[in-house]
Amino acid sequence: MARLRMNQAIGAALADAMAEDPTVVVFGEDVAAAGGVFKTSVGLLERFGPERVRDTPISEMAIVGTAVGAAMGGLRPVAEIMFADFFGVALDQVVTQGALVHYLTRGAVTVPMVIRSSVGAGRGFAATHSRTVEEWFLSAPGLKLVEVSGARTAYGLLRAAVREEGPVVVLEPRALYGTREEFEPGDDAVIPLGVAEVRREGADATVVAVGQTVGIASEAIERLDASIELIDLLTLRPWDVETVLASVARTGRLALVEEHPFTGGWGPEVASRVGQELFGELTSPILRITAPDVPVPFTRDLEFRYLPTAEYVAAQLGRWLETDTLPSPWWERIGEEV
């Protein structure tokens, strides 16, 4: 068993993938000589050499476009976009080129590329470096999207993503890079895409979380005296409808803990699907605990007000379970006693 920080687990996954398959190459801004700004590729340059591990200019369109072409040409590139917000200048290559090559060539050309990127608030990176931007990829046919929730899932999902024949975006909550988890890296640790994990079992309600809200929701549930099932969705496109529906069919209640703002994101997708499929079987309205519809604030107190904290999630879940009605979000109660 290894006890690895999440950034070390990512580095281990990259190293294992490169050792397994000589066509795997890694490139991005400061990923080679410096080992990544979040230290997710330490030692790869020394071990695999400058042909396969490359620093790029600050040039996201070139990074992703080159990954698309390299994948078409027979490599398995794993490219890094340092902050997911930077996808804004490279989105064409992800959703309009890379995601459509296989379809538009009628299967003659595949794009086995992985684009990794850090996401999320909680590190004081301010409005333009703190979003999770899952919604940019959710509506992109041809693309798969995963979001890791710790060292073990980061390792397992990244290994699986590199083995995919099509393009995969892997989002890594940057607040978790330093958190440790014990697991055994290797083939047995690979986590297949499209499969959610039940993190704890329960009978009274189902909570679905993604990325850093998995840990937050888990902590919140521990504070409550209730039997709550927690599902880590892991893959957002295509998401594991079956596991979520089976759980909610049993518990009759669904709550979602989402880091992204109320409008858009993976949460509404899950909520609408469950509402459609299980209408009549739900014993209370679907609860969405989200961030507010505002940019991520910088100052520490407000950044952690913006993020759904364990304390807030516990309070919302508690009220909901007690009354079977929806508690209003905190921003609708500003000025009132919370």
Binding site: T23, V25, E51, R52, R54, T56, P57, S59, E60, M61, A62, V64, G65, T66, A67, V68, G69, A70, A71, M72, G73, G74, L75, P77, V89, D92, Q93, T96, Q97, V101, H102, Y103, L104, T105, R106, G107, A108, V109, T110, V111, P112, P141, G142, K144, R163, E164, E165, G166
Partner: protein
């Protein structure tokens, strides 16, 4: 390999595969002349099909630019990788795509190059290296850099070629792709097909640099301004750039100066052209230039030229008839190939 076998090639009018068609263009000046005539007839026919209400959707014709397409096809090996752009009927036919595949695709039939699912601007034929066609300006430039990176890492000896218009030189992908390809000295060739107009705007009204290829100096790349109406000049310039790339000396930026005889797309009558411009360029028609050259050396005479032209017309008519008689893909087709099958 990420690039495999595409859909099966349909039976062609003259029973030639895309690769056979490509080899002709590489080997034979007369075949190049014939291909240029074939392209001209194909564009004419596609316009007619639209006028008759038999074709649907967006289409961009390249009449006047045939020497660019055929010159590139003759200078690049079929094993090299080419990424084209939306005005790509000519490049497709030149690289080897059959008239049946082109007409089928523009008419949205299952016999088209990509089963009618891509349409006129999305021609692909991997057996001759046309691995993708992009329709967002400049997007093929970093993709070609990536294809070149794969060639370099694998030591395949392949060269990657991006062909794009003058409307693509002011977008980020152009600059980012050129910088990275130069920095990494990748085996790539970047070809600006300057037909004078990006949509409705003349290139010198949108770009601060003249000639456009001078942009290469910013990325420490060699460049050349080439007469795009002269197929032999195109072959010489592209051929030299390909050899340079294959020898490990890095990318080249070429500007092939040509002219678009028709508007941007079907609905554009091109009222923005200065008076006399079109006529001046038609006087330097690429088909006539090559025809006269071959006539001068005794390879063809007027009768032979008329015969080749008629053969091309018949071939395109037959391809159109074949496409019109072919079915549209079943609704299930739109669900296929969105995601690849897992291979392990």
């Amino acid at each position: 390999m990420a690039i495999g076998k595409g859909p099966e090639v349909v039976t062609t009018y003259d029973a030639k595969t895309p690769l056979m068609r490509r080899e002709e263009v590489i080997a034979d000046p007369l075949a190049r002349l014939e291909r240029m005539m074939e392209i001209r007839h194909a564009e004419q026919k596609i316009r007619e099909l639209h006028e008759e209400g038999l074709a649907w959707g967006s289409t961009h014709s390249c009449d006047g630019q045939e020497a660019v397409a055929v010159g590139i096809a003759a200078a690049v090996a079929p094993t090299d990788h080419v990424v084209g752009a939306h005005r790509g009927h000519g490049l497709g036919l030149a690289l080897g795509l059959t008239p049946e595949q082109l007409l089928g695709e523009t008419l949205g039939r299952s016999v088209g190059a990509v089963e009618g699912l891509g349409g006129s601007p999305h021609l692909v034929e991997t057996s001759v290296g046309l691995v993708f066609t992009v329709t967002l300006m400049g997007a093929g430039i970093p993709i070609a850099a990536g294809l070149a990176l794969a060639a370099e890492v694998q030591g395949s000896g392949r060269v990657a070629v991006a062909v794009f218009g003058d409307g693509s030189v002011n977008i980020g992908a152009f600059h980012e792709g050129l910088n990275l390809a130069s920095l990494w000295k990748l085996p790539a060739v970047f070809v600006i097909e300057n037909n004078h107009y990006g949509e409705f705007s003349r290139y010198d009204r949108t770009t601060a640099v003249e000639p456009l290829a001078r942009r290469a100096e910013a990325y420490d790349l060699p460049w050349e301004l080439v007469d795009g109406q002269d197929v032999d000049a195109v072959i010489a310039a592209v051929g030299a750039a390909v050899e340079r790339a294959r020898a490990g000396e890095g990318p080249t930026l070429l500007e092939l100066r040509t002219y678009r005889y028709f508007g941007h797309s079907r609905s554009d009558r091109a009222p923005y052209r200065p008076e006399g411009e079109l006529e001046a360029w038609r006087a330097r028609d690429p088909i006539r230039i090559l025809g006269e050259r071959l006539e001068a050396v005794g390879m063809v005479d007027a009768d032979a030229l008329a015969e080749i032209d008629e053969r091309c017309r018949e071939r395109i008519e037959a391809a159109a008839a074949h496409a019109l008689a072919s079915p549209v893909a079943d609704p299930g087709a739109m669900f296929r190939h969105v995601y690849p099958e897992p291979n392990r």
